[in-house]
């Protein structure tokens, strides 16, 4: 374990621990509005200042980290599993299944998602608690994010289907789901890992964009997505550098994850 990796490990553990302990660490609730001090710079009371309606940024970052760090990987897991199932299985079965699955993923990728999401919003009730809205949002992301990865996986699985060791396994009498689970899936792991880690930041950002359709994390709950959205249109980073904290945090955490992962992958 080299220094960079140790550092990455420390960062990840620290950020996770701190965000899980948000209830105790946050000086105030994430929704409490200090109306005497909106948009305040960092101070002894508000370490990262306050946002436009006077909410403590530090508390919001803590809680937002917890939401995003918990749910984005969960959504990434859902989408990766779906990709493995659709892409992996199609590639493994080959022939008509592969063509069908490719057609389906292509169709899925070319669908006008904006309109479909508007429809989704239309059928959802308006009165959902912020927490439920977060769960719905990430579930949607997880259910929609698999298609591109499934394409890649179907190609890899197709190659595996024709590999010697799969032939050897079939000649040994293995077949069906067991053959897929034992021999094909483990070899898709690197692709699945990559897909998983790429999805996380993508989902964190998409969540913020879904807010435009009334699907994102609902106020007053913070998330990295909504914290990043506050940067939109910010013209004076130099005057208010502390507002970049969520962005820096996102980059640091993602980089740390990648660093931890790439090593694991090599030994795998």
């Amino acid at each position: 374990m080299n220094l960079a990796r140790k550092l990455a490990c420390v960062v990840v553990v620290f950020v996770c621990a701190v965000s899980l302990a948000a209830n105790w660490l946050a000086p105030v609730g994430y929704a409490k509005q200090f109306r005497e001090a909106p948009g305040a710079p960092p101070s002894h009371e508000h370490w990262l200042g306050t946002d436009e309606v006077g909410r403590d940024r530090f508390a919001r970052v803590l809680y937002g980290t917890r939401i995003s760090l918990l749910l984005a990987p969960a959504a990434a897991l859902v989408s990766t599993l779906l990709a493995a199932l659709v892409g992996g299985l199609a590639g493994y079965l080959g022939g008509i299944w592969l063509r069908l699955a490719r057609g389906f993923t292509d169709l899925f990728l070319s669908l006008p998602w904006l309109f479909l999401l508007i429809t989704v919003r239309a059928v959802l009730p308006l009165n959902v608690s912020p927490l439920t809205s977060v769960l719905i949002t990430f579930l949607i992301l997880g259910l929609l994010g698999w298609a591109a990865a499934a394409r890649v996986l179907s190609t890899s699985a197709d190659a595996l289907r024709n590999s010697d060791f799969v032939l050897q396994a079939r000649a040994s009498g293995l077949h069906g789901p067991r053959l897929f689970l034992i021999h094909v899936l483990p070899n898709l792991k690197p692709v699945l890992y990559a897909q998983f880690w790429i999805s996380i930041p993508v989902f964190i950002l998409s969540e913020a964009n879904l807010g435009i359709l009334g699907l994102g994390v609902a106020e007053p709950l913070p998330s990295w997505g909504s914290l990043l959205r506050e940067l939109e249109g910010l013209m004076s980073f130099r005057e208010e550098p502390w507002r970049l904290v969520p962005l820096v945090l996102l980059i640091v955490v993602m980089t740390s994850f990648q660093m931890l992962l790439s090593k694991e992958e090599v030994t795998a």
Binding site: D164, L167, A169, S172, G173, I182, P186, N187, K189
Partner: protein, 285 residues
């Protein structure tokens, strides 16, 4: 389930294999293998050797390849069997060892896992993991790989941590787990260096001797075949052009192609005699 029969012929194949819209890959092949016999199938690459191996195992992908004729194995025509029945034969009564040992092992899995899976594919319901371990240990012992006691670590290795020779032994161990009646070795020694090659050949010969399993030994390399086979069939452009005992083939090749094969052998003065001697040694052993 094919009913066991006791006729001396284990496998008798008369097949034509073609792909839609193309010339046949195998044209009216006729091949018999007796119980306990080691038969060599020799031909250059592209002659259809591997196709025959896969056709016997029913792994050609029936929707694309058209297999005509019959392949009678232990009294049952394999071509009339359903996939489920074929599956129960594969790895149990019929097994296969492929050319490139390292590519034939799953890089993502431990050796032990792969052996266990192969065993489990045909194990009985009541079988315990002890049964499995025992079968694997005995198989490994048969192929002279480390087994039991302190050598359990071997099973935790992955393909990338093995030598080519070790990998091929693992594959053979996997192939003989269920004591098959017929083992098909498809260019099983071609990828190996000369010393390893002779070791593996020795292993095949020993397995044949000790367990009485028949072996269909497919190769492009006539000398290596000669070392362990009792009979040789020469495959050329999808047809068996000649077949006979090793002696017949070496001393009186009848077909033009066989003669060409013989001429292509290195012409060292003693070569032929040595080969013949080896052939006798094996057959008379």
């Amino acid at each position: 389930m094919p009913t066991p029969d006791s006729s001396p012929t284990l496998l008798s194949a008369q097949v034509t294999v073609r792909y839609p819209g193309k010339a046949p890959v195998l044209q009216g092949i006729s091949l018999d293998i007796a119980r306990g016999e080691v038969v060599g199938l020799v031909g250059q690459s592209g002659s259809g050797k591997s196709t025959l191996a896969l056709a016997i195992l029913g792994l050609l992908g029936r929707q694309r390849a058209i297999v005509e004729g019959k392949i009678v194995f232990q009294g049952t025509d394999l071509l009339t069997l359903r996939e489920r029945e074929l599956r129960s034969l594969r790895g149990r009564a019929l097994s296969l060892v492929l050319q490139s040992p390292l590519a034939s092992l799953n890089p993502a899995l431990e050796i032990g896992t792969q052996l266990r899976e192969a065993w489990r594919a045909h194990s009985e319901r009541a079988a315990t993991s002890d049964d499995c371990d025992r079968a694997i240990q005995s198989s490994l012992k048969n192929v002279s790989l480390p087994c039991g006691g302190n050598d359990r670590d071997f099973l935790r290795k992955r393909a990338s941590q093995l030598s080519v020779g070790q990998a091929q032994r693992v594959l053979i161990a996997m192939a003989i787990l269920h004591r098959p009646a017929l083992l098909i070795a498809d260019e099983a020694t071609s990828a190996l260096d000369v010393i390893t090659q002779s070791e593996i050949l020795e292993l095949f010969a020993r397995l044949n001797r000790e367990t009485g399993m028949s072996i269909l030994y497919i190769s492009h390399d006539l000398p290596s075949v000669a070392g362990i086979c009792q009979r040789i069939a020469i495959l050329h452009e999808g047809e068996i052009v000649e077949s006979g005992t090793v002696e017949q083939i070496f001393t009186a090749p009848a077909h033009e192609y066989t003669r060409r094969l013989m001429q292509a052998l290195p012409q060292l003065p003693v070569q032929r005699e040595v080969l013949l001697a080896r052939a006798h040694a094996v057959t008379l052993d």
